[in-house]
Symmetry: C2
Subunit: 355 residues, 2 copies
Amino acid sequence: MPQLQQRPLTVAVVGATGVVGQTMITVLAERGLPINELRPLASRRVPGREVTYGGRAWPVLEARPEAFEDVDIALFSAGSAVSAQLAPEAVARGSLVIDNSAQFRMTPGVPLVVVEVNPDDALDHEGIIANPNCSTMQLTLPLMALRDAVGLERVVVDTYQAVGGTGADAIAEFQAQIEAHVAGRPKEASVYPHPIAFNVVPEIDTFLDDGYSKEEWKVIHESRKILHLPRLRLSCTAVRVPVFVSHSEAVHVETQRPISADEARQLFATVPGLLVIDEPSAHRYPLATEAAGRDEVFIGRIRRDASMPGGHGLAFWVVSDNLRKGAATNAVQIAQLVLERGWLAPASRRPGRVA
Amino acid sequence: MPQLQQRPLTVAVVGATGVVGQTMITVLAERGLPINELRPLASRRVPGREVTYGGRAWPVLEARPEAFEDVDIALFSAGSAVSAQLAPEAVARGSLVIDNSAQFRMTPGVPLVVVEVNPDDALDHEGIIANPNCSTMQLTLPLMALRDAVGLERVVVDTYQAVGGTGADAIAEFQAQIEAHVAGRPKEASVYPHPIAFNVVPEIDTFLDDGYSKEEWKVIHESRKILHLPRLRLSCTAVRVPVFVSHSEAVHVETQRPISADEARQLFATVPGLLVIDEPSAHRYPLATEAAGRDEVFIGRIRRDASMPGGHGLAFWVVSDNLRKGAATNAVQIAQLVLERGWLAPASRRPGRVA
């Protein structure tokens, strides 16, 4: 029986005033973690700025190394630069870092965990557990099920990603463009290179020389790591769409062995965290607006892929709230997992650990 | 030398008050066809309703069989039921029908023509030439080039389709939802099963028992017919996005022989009607809002497909104004082609035709 964390926790949220940070605090409250002290941290202290949690107001403090003293778990969502600088400081002070940035996701030895997919990977952490990219997260649940049932040969995924994934500035810019449209004024863009209102923009994160964006490579590399399939053949086009919350994905999977749509539907229904909505003739399939505010990953439009006549292919549609399961919910689920299993301390310093 | 059509034409536009019909009349004017009489037709005559063309006002008449007397070319865009009923009446009266509905597209013996891809198919018409579906149209230009250069093995295309493709009712509903959002009122939907504003909806046309929508099958079947590849392996997820005009498509092609991104870029640059915009690091790629009002098909984000390590794969992004090249422009181009080549009469009744 692993040692359970019993004492009430001190939990820091780095980026507490951002869209994901705020959602993290909401999800921490919903899930009732045994938190004694919440320590909301931001790039700078704004006097008087507070976060309400557990019926109390907690002042937002400046995110600097000393702020992690006595912190048990530090949830980071303030970008890669902040994680690069402060996550090691938090670890040095004995905190477990659950990092939503891309900074450590592909670092060997840092677990990259989707709790329904590869929870056991969290066992071996040395102070940092990485939270996957939002568009990767929702994809891995059905891919895991297909990997185990029929094997994965090749995956093509094209994304329809919400503006909310970029942050509060992007949401405000989007809203201003909508209002400009109604008022008959020109739409202005500065957060994105082009107006996103009433447009679709195939640019998320920066581009590499090979013509792929970093976002597209994240989906490829992170899926391989999470699924323990380092050579998985996967391609992605990542596209921003004028939606506030929830990422949608059109997925086409070549499988090693054949699977029918009915078999796939039954298979997906057994995956915790994955909810099948699949009555297209009744206009029922996952929708961005309906997934918003929910913690599940939704899947529908499940059908044999018409380009794979032998039945070795499946097409489907996956939708999830990118701020919740795609970011905050999974980070909090990792915290819960680690607490339940007694994995809070780094593996090498854990009592009773057989090396 | 084929016989050229010299006398000024009488051209009917069926569905002249619809979004595509209006665009057809605009494109007819832009391209300066030798039209003596324009005959705008609609489901019923609205007294006083007129269409301006060539500096004259033409009354909108009721679309009934007698309205096709003396019509040389009848452009149909009033839905499949109207085409089924009236296209044979027009043909019986000696008109060439260019039909934008799905009614005859897959009928054996009816040419289905994209003028840059398979113009010669128009030679064999017997009174009806079909205009492809908008989402098919733009896809066939790059696929034709790849078919000829390196061969096509398999194609996956996921679409981002504009509301304008559905018609004026859908545009008005979309606009009302945007205004409701700004005013803080609930969004109402009746043209679509769900609000399209700030949402993405994976339903276009009705669903078949196999889980595919008719729109998705149109892309598959029509591409096969246009490209003369009856067994082409192609899959599609067709998705409506909150965009007014222009369809975007993420395309992943397995090729029979390898091709690099640079080779593909050079290849696509040689295709008439296809315009390469591909400097992603400078934020330059095809965009729905920039394609609107243009007659070209735009292609960018051209790269080797990461899931095909041998170089037998290509990924790219294709955008086109669904009302213009996707509908009206190609229909008018077919009319021009037929006039230039002397193919106005049915093939079997054409003077000098060697059977």
